[in-house]
Symmetry: C2
Subunit: 189 residues, 2 copies
Amino acid sequence: MYDLFLKNLAMHVSLSPAEAEQLVKHLGLVTIRSRAKLLNAGEVCRKVYFVNKGCLRVYHTDSEGIDHIISFSPENWWATDVASFSSQKVSKFSIDAVEETEVFYLDYNILERLYIQVPKLERFFRILTQNGYSILQRRMISHKSKSALQRYRMFKKQYPKLEQRISQKHIASFLGITPVFLSRLRQLT
Amino acid sequence: MYDLFLKNLAMHVSLSPAEAEQLVKHLGLVTIRSRAKLLNAGEVCRKVYFVNKGCLRVYHTDSEGIDHIISFSPENWWATDVASFSSQKVSKFSIDAVEETEVFYLDYNILERLYIQVPKLERFFRILTQNGYSILQRRMISHKSKSALQRYRMFKKQYPKLEQRISQKHIASFLGITPVFLSRLRQLT
DNA sequence: CGTCTATTTGAATGTACTCAAAAGCGGTGG
DNA sequence: CCACCGCTTTTGAGTACATTCAAATAGACG
C-alpha cells in the first residue's frame, strides 16, 4: 500500500523501519473523483499531497477568470501550494483532480512535528523543493525562449502518457496558450 | 561584517552563537566587478552565494545566443544554480555581476558537512528554497496572464530601486521581451 | 436522446518581434 | 580634455505568432 510512497522517499533519504513507520502512521488517505477539489484559492493550504494514483493539477484563476495551470502531479509526484502551505496564509492557487485520484497527505502541524522527530524529512523536503524549483526554472526558460509549437512538442515528448489523459483545454492552459490555438497547432504535427 | 548575513539567517532559524561561529568561519568572501562571472553555463555550480552588496543575475543563454534572466539577486538575496548545485551536475545557467558586487559563499562539500553539524541549516535552506519556489511561481503566472506592459509596471513597483541600477537590456531580458519593445513601452508611461 | 462542455474552423485583430538605421552615452587612449 | 569606438537605447516600417469572437461540430455524461 505504501510502496510507491516509501520508494519515493527512498529516492532522497533512507529511513529506518521505525522512522518509516512513524511517518506512515500519520499519513492520511483520500480518493477523489475527477474535478473534485483539494484546495480552493482563498483557503489556507493545510496539507501536502502525494499522488498514489491519478493526477492532480495546481492552477491559478486570474482576474479575468482564466485558469493557468502551474503543474500537473501524476502518480509518484507531490502537490501543494508551497507558498500557502509553508506560510499558512491564504492560497492564490487551487488544486483539483484531472481524473479519479488517490492521494496520501500530511497535515501542516503533523509535518512540523515530524520534522523534529525525523530530521531526515527536513532534508527530504528540501531536496524535493529544490527539484521542483529547477523544473519550474526550466519551464520558465522554455516559456520565454520557445514558440508555442516547440513547447507543445516538448510536452508531448516529456509526458507522452499524460497527453492521453488530459484534456486539450488543460494542456493549453499548462502551455500558456488558448485551447483554440492549441487545436490549430495540432493540425500541423 | 556578517551582520546582514546573520540577520538573513535569523529570518528563518535561530542559531546559537556557537552555531553562527561554526557557519561563519566556513564562509568565503569575494568582490567582483561589474560583468565578472561567478558561474559559466557548462561548469558545475559548486557554491551558493549570498549578496552582501551589489547585484547578481542568474541567466540562461539559449541556442540562438539570447540571454534569459531568471532572477536578480541584490543585497540580502541568495543566488545559485539550484539544479546544478544540488545535483553537482553541469549547469545550464550562468551567474554574473550587474554592478560591483560583494558576495559570501558556501562550498557544496562544506555545506553538506554543515547540514550534519548544524541541522538547522537544512531547515533554513528548505525554507529559502520554498520561498524562491513560490516567487518563481508568481512570476510564471504573471508571465502567462499579464501583458508586457503590466509586467513592466509590476516590476517597477516591486523593485523601485533596482530599476535605476540595471540596464534596460537586462530588465527586458528579465521581463521576457526584447529591449526594443521595452523602449517602446517606456514611452507610454 | 438531450444538454453541456470541449474541440475545430474561419476571419479579423493585436501584441510583440525582426530588421534597419539613427541617436545617445560611457569609457579609453591620444 | 577631447575624439573616437562600442554598446545601449530610440524610432520607424513591416511581419508573425497568438488572440478574440463567432459559429459549427463532436464528445461525454446523465
